[in-house]
């Protein structure tokens, strides 16, 4: 077994230390900062490879576990570990950061600070995806917010001030709700450990325990349980985001420097779904099932509306932002469908496993695809002096065929073309959830059509038709740019054709969930 080897801590600390070094560096050391930043992110990537290679795919529980006592009086331990989900998310993070740094290469303002903040963000993300005790999990969760806020605030577009504030306030409100929910849990149980909390409350619900241990002015235990669940849900829903808690997202994605947007959509939006899978469902299974129908339909309606709304966007970054909302709604569809059913002596267990496996695959694939799409938008912005309106271009394919070909492939991966990664997750989610919740799945399928409409319209307006003479001198992708996107594109193809490459590490975890999350 690989427990006790501090590889996860090393993965969190490496970018953290790298970030500290860079932030301390003077603003004039640009190339040094770029080199150090990329180097540190590549070391983290190498550690990620080691963690992946040493992971035992047959074991569904936590691996690479480290456990140290921290504040015994508060039940706080330092516990980290990954299962298939955590490993996939860590892998996604360490893959995306070098990509985002390469895309941000041409930045000239306060380069060391930028690269340092990105590394801090990486540390926060890895910390969030590996922590198993609420205390330091929440610390990392909040820690992600700070570098992200400054990245938007300092390097963002013209409207960055309000976008950064909105982003901060929204996610902060979610975090406060989450914190209050966990304080209630702590008061009722005296522990912050996810595993322990899941054992205590997961199956039976919290009503009885709250009734017994909390006396808050006559509020009944079941009301309290529901409130606590909703508080936790709000915290995650803002992060995912679930409509209608999503309005921070288009402006934050649009105003953030595009390298940061890649991380926001690629990795940070996964924090929400990760939290739902790691915390909300294991801890609040009973409460979630009681509210399942509204939650499911909230996700489905949000997904379809987001896909339609994307069509009305004129700013490419806003358009892809709505596309992200749509893609992550499929994840929620899969989760809520799988949590709801499951009785009948396990007859539907294969479908639940399919849906849940599809959710994680979709998270990973969306991370890769959306980050690649934003990287292409960044390249476009760098060529057009910041323009990125859908009407600003036209006929670019003639000048930049390689650009068009690769971005086209990413677009088709995003709309779920078989043979590329996007299809695998969507197929698995829909196959599973149609068997479990046919009406919701059928409604959500409308989103598949609407997605194709706006994505093809995008290709049509930007790349096809007569060449806009303004861009007659546009240059095709260069070596550094290819280096940033080609690995991601290769992954899209590999996962699309051989999905087992990813599912291999997930299936034991998914099987365990199916067993644990029964009603």
């Amino acid at each position: 077994m690989n427990d006790g080897v501090p590889i996860l801590t090393a993965m969190t600390l490496t970018p953290w230390i790298g970030g500290c070094l860079l932030v301390g560096l003077g603003a004039r050391h640009r190339s040094l900062a770029r080199g150090v930043g990329l180097g540190v992110s590549l070391i983290t990537l190498a550690l990620g490879f080691l963690a992946w290679a040493g992971f035992d795919p047959g074991e569904g529980g936590m691996q690479w576990v480290e456990r140290h006592s921290w504040i015994p009086g508060l039940g706080v331990e330092y516990v980290v570990g990954v299962d298939g989900l955590g490993l996939a998310m860590v892998a996604l993070t360490v893959l995306l950061v070098p990509m985002a740094l390469l895309v941000s290469w041409t930045l000239t303002e306060r380069v060391p600070l930028y690269f340092g903040l990105v590394l801090w963000l990486e540390a926060g993300l890895i910390g969030t995806f590996t922590a198993l005790n609420f205390f330091h999990w929440f610390l990392f969760w909040e820690l992600c917010l700070i570098p992200a806020f400054f990245l938007i605030r300092l390097w963002g577009g013209p409207d960055r001030g309000s976008a950064a504030t909105q982003f901060f306030v929204y996610t902060m409100a979610g975090s406060v709700a989450l914190l209050l929910a966990f304080l209630a849990l702590f008061l009722a149980t005296g522990t912050f450990d996810f595993g322990r909390l899941a054992e205590l409350g997961g199956r039976g619900g919290w009503a009885a325990r709250f009734e017994e241990n909390l006396d808050w002015g006559g509020v009944s235990g079941s009301t309290l349980a529901r409130l606590v669940f909703l508080g936790a849900f709000l915290g995650f829903a803002v992060k995912v985001p679930v409509m209608p808690f999503h309005t921070w997202l288009p402006s934050a994605y649009a105003e953030a420097p595009t390298g940061t947007t890649m991380l926001l959509t690629g990795a940070m939006s996964k924090m929400g779904v990760y939290g739902i899978l790691r915390i909300l469902i294991p801890l609040f299974g009973a409460e979630a099932r009681a509210l399942l129908a509204p939650l499911l339909w909230l996700a489905v309606a949000g997904g379809v509306i987001a896909a339609a709304t994307a069509f009305a966007q004129r700013d490419l970054k806003r358009m892809f932002a709505y596309s992200s909302v749509n893609h992550l709604a499929y994840c929620l569809l899969g989760i809520f469908a799988a949590v709801g059913a499951g009785g009948e002596a396990g007859r539907l267990d294969p479908e639940r496993s399919m849906a849940l496996g599809g959710v994680v695959v979709q998270m990973f694939n969306h991370g890769i695809t959306a980050a690649a799409l934003f990287a292409f938008v960044a390249f476009l912005e760098q060529r057009s002096g910041g323009r990125r309106g859908i009407e600003d271009f036209g006929g670019l394919r003639r000048r930049v065929p390689v650009f068009c070909g690769l971005m086209g492939a990413a677009v088709f991966a995003s709309l779920g073309l078989p043979g590329l990664s996007g299809f695998v997750g969507e197929f698995m989610i829909f196959k599973g959830s149609f068997a479990l919740e046919p009406a919701a799945a059928a409604t959500a399928a409308l989103g598949l059509l609407l997605t194709a409409v706006f994505l093809l319209t995008f290709l049509h307006r930007v790349f096809h038709g007569p060449l806009n003479p303004r861009w007659a001198g546009m240059a095709d992708l260069g070596g550094r740019e290819l280096l940033a996107v080609v690995p991601a594109m290769a992954l899209m193809l590999v996962i699309g054709v051989v999905p087992q490459a990813l599912l291999g590490v997930l299936k034991a975890t998914v099987t365990r969930w199916v067993g644990d999350w029964g009603p």
Partner: protein, 683 residues
């Protein structure tokens, strides 16, 4: 047998690999790209012929287990998805047809696209197209079929929009993808529904496949909403997919626009690949389509029949009023696809697929002939500005005439007659209604009519292009690279019919697994003879009318109004406008979608955004209140306190300013005060 079954997967993979390699080739490597595409497809053809040879020895569909190879594709722990391929008569003859027609079109394209700067890319896309279609045909899993189906859609998108700088081509490509995507989403839902019901979407799996009796029996008893049989629901969803792909009414709108692609692409789409996929799907899942319905035809098959019959006539009428040489052919494809669906619905797999095969040859022939014409007259596509071309392009004329007669269904010699006759026969015997049969007859009449009209416009009469009579740049015959494929296809358009005559129903017996016997007596059975006569009369009337209108008196002016329009102007205008279907969709579906998008954006900006703004304002307001309280309550008291202290300090400081006279004054005053106090106090 074993060998070809286990290595069947090479057939689609070879062209796909060629596409992958040639996607990475630099633009200048033209020969390499074309060589890869043609070589891989030739190898696929050899393998397909081997497979066909083996499959001739197998029994037909449904009687025994076809030779299927399945493998595990993904495994999510408890749920597993398997894919596979199958060698059966239905797939084997499609494999040969697709690779043969594809190969001819590929070699024709070498000539046709010789001047195009993106020649390398063109062959990359062609290879992708052929590979995806071959994969679709041999898939043993509805999921694999769907995956290839989407790849076929992608390839057609890339090829229709190949001349992406032309706004019409780019728009047509997008329209094709989105319109077929509507069908694809329905197909996808049908797929996951069927998967949920049967637990598998492998067609054949040694008894456990979803097309095998056990799963079908299981399915047949179930009902869904509104009392509809589940099997019907699934079958209808799949059929909507086929409607999209095969250009049936009401999702036919993309197919005529797809003419914006280069002509070899039109030939490929209309003959061997894209549109054939929908018909093939219905044929592949025929056991599901036929499920239920008691003694008569099932509800799903009735839907197939009606959609097919309506499409056959609808598109034929539109074809009458078109003036673009390729659009006439495009609508004729839509109409013929309707015939195929009608054949599937009323007569079963053998009837529909027979017409698919013969049509593949003569429609590819017609499109390549049209390409040769367009090539010969310097890119002109309007048949009103052609005319008299038989003098300059004899080979094209002869082969086109063969294709035209096969399409019109001229008796005995041409394949179209036999395959259409089978359909009419089946429609006549349909127990539900005779209306589809009458519609089919009307469609056949119109087909003969509009093809004669086209022939008269293009090859007869005076030349009406630039430089009348004897043009300055006379039209020229196309190079051998283009005319040889025409000849081969023409041979197919004639010869293929004899595989399915009533006297020797070779193809039907091959598909159904019954031994074929040569029995000329069946040819002379009274019912067969009367139907053949009827069909011959219909064709003769159609062609006669066409000739009477357009050929009898040669057309001399390009501006001359259409002679049909002179007699029936209102009808002609309606047909010319394609019944306004495009405009109707623009006013309803497209508009609704735009409204929904804007509504979503508006709600985000003003409702949710407004709520956030309100919450923000509330927070700011609270902050102001708190600031006010701070400044006027807490701070003020504090400030006052501070101010008082400061003042006191200042005042106290006055006492210690170091001026001795002041101190003395104070001291003196103090002493005086003290004395006064003491005297006052002690008294």
């Amino acid at each position: 047998m074993e060998w070809i079954r286990d290595h069947l997967w090479w057939i689609p993979v070879l062209p796909l690999l060629a596409a992958g390699v040639s996607a990475l080739l630099p633009r200048g490597w033209r020969r390499m790209s074309a060589g890869l595409a043609i070589g891989s497809l030739a190898a696929a053809l050899v393998l397909s012929v081997l497979a066909l040879g083996v499959s001739l020895g197998l029994s037909g569909m449904g009687s025994v287990n076809p030779a299927a190879v399945n493998f595990r594709w993904l495994d999510a722990g408890l749920g597993v998805v398997r894919l596979g391929w199958v060698l059966d008569p239905l797939g084997a003859c499609m494999l040969v047809m697709v690779s043969l027609v594809g190969l001819l079109i590929f070699s024709y394209s070498v000539g046709y696209m010789a001047e195009d700067e993106n020649f390398t890319r063109f062959f990359c896309f062609l290879a992708l197209f052929a590979g995806a279609m071959l994969g679709l045909v041999m898939a043993n899993s509805l999921l694999l079929l769907f995956a290839c189906w989407e790849l076929v859609g992608l390839a057609s998108y890339l090829l229709i929009g190949f001349w992406y700088q032309k706004p019409e081509a780019a728009a047509a490509a997008r329209k094709a993808f989105i319109t077929t995507r509507i069908g694809d989403v329905a197909f996808f839902l049908g797929l996951v529904w069927w998967y949920a019901e049967s637990g598998t979407v492998l067609f054949y799996d040694t008894g456990a496949g979803c097309l095998e009796p056990r799963a079908l029996d299981l399915l047949s008893g179930r009902t869904t909403i509104l009392g509809m049989a589940t099997a019907t629901g699934v079958a209808l969803l799949l059929f909507v997919g086929a409607i999209g792909k095969s250009g049936q009414v009401p999702l036919h709108v993309w197919l005529p626009d797809a003419m914006e692609g280069p002509t070899p692409v039109s030939a490929l789409i209309h003959a061997a690949t894209m549109v054939a996929a929908g018909v093939f799907l219905v044929a592949r899942v025929y056991p599901l389509m036929a499920l239920g319905g008691g003694d008569g035809p099932s509800a799903a098959l009735q839907a197939v029949t009606w959609v097919g019959a309506v499409t056959a006539v609808f598109a034929a009428t539109v074809a009458v009023a078109q003036t673009d040489i390729k659009r006439v052919l495009a609508y004729s494809t839509v109409s013929q696809l309707g015939f195929m669906m009608l054949g599937l619905g009323t007569g079963g797999v053998a009837v529909g697929m027979f017409h698919l095969l013969t049509h593949a040859f003569f429609k590819a022939l017609l499109f390549l002939g049209a390409g040769s014409v367009i090539h010969g007259v310097g890119g002109e596509q309007d048949i009103r500005r052609m005319g008299g071309l038989r003098r300059w392009m004899p080979v094209t004329f002869a082969t086109y005439a063969i294709g035209m007669m096969a399409l019109a269904g001229v008796p005995v010699v041409f394949s179209g007659f036999w395959s259409k006759d089978e359909i009419l026969h089946a429609a006549h015997a349909w127990p539900v209604s005779q209306v589809p049969f009458c519609l089919a007859l009307a469609g056949a009449l119109l087909t003969a009519f509009y093809m004669t009209r086209q022939m008269a416009y293009v090859f007869f009469g005076a030349h009406r292009g630039a430089g009348k009579g004897e043009p300055a740049h006379p039209p020229h015959e196309s190079p051998r690279l283009m005319t040889v494929p025409l000849g081969v296809l023409a041979a197919g358009a004639v010869g293929l019919g004899f595989l399915g005559t009533p006297a020797w129903p070779g193809l039907e017996s091959y598909w159904t697994g019954r031994p074929a016997e040569f029995d000329p007596g069946r040819l002379l059975a009274p019912e067969a003879v009367s139907l053949m006569l009827l069909s011959a009369v219909v064709v003769a009337v159609g062609m006669g009318l066409g000739w009477w209108l357009y050929g009898r008196r040669p057309i001399t002016q390009a501006t001359e109004p259409d002679r049909f329009a002179q007699r029936f102007p209102a009808t002609f205008r309606l047909w010319q406008r394609k019944y306004g279907v495009d405009e109707f969709y623009a006013a309803t579906v497209v508009r609704a979608h735009g409204l929904l998008a804007r509504w979503g954006d508006w709600v985000d900006r003003w409702i949710w955004g407004g709520l956030v703004l309100a919450a923000g304002l509330l927070a700011v307001g609270a902050a102001w209140v708190s600031r006010f309280l701070d400044e006027w309550g807490v701070n003020l008291g504090f400030d006052r306190g501070c101010g008082g202290l400061r003042l006191g300090g200042w005042r106290l400081a006055l006492f210690q300013d170091g001026r001795v006279q002041g101190y003395l004054r104070a001291l003196a005053m103090g002493v005086v005060l003290l004395v006064l106090l003491l005297t006052w106090g002690t008294r």
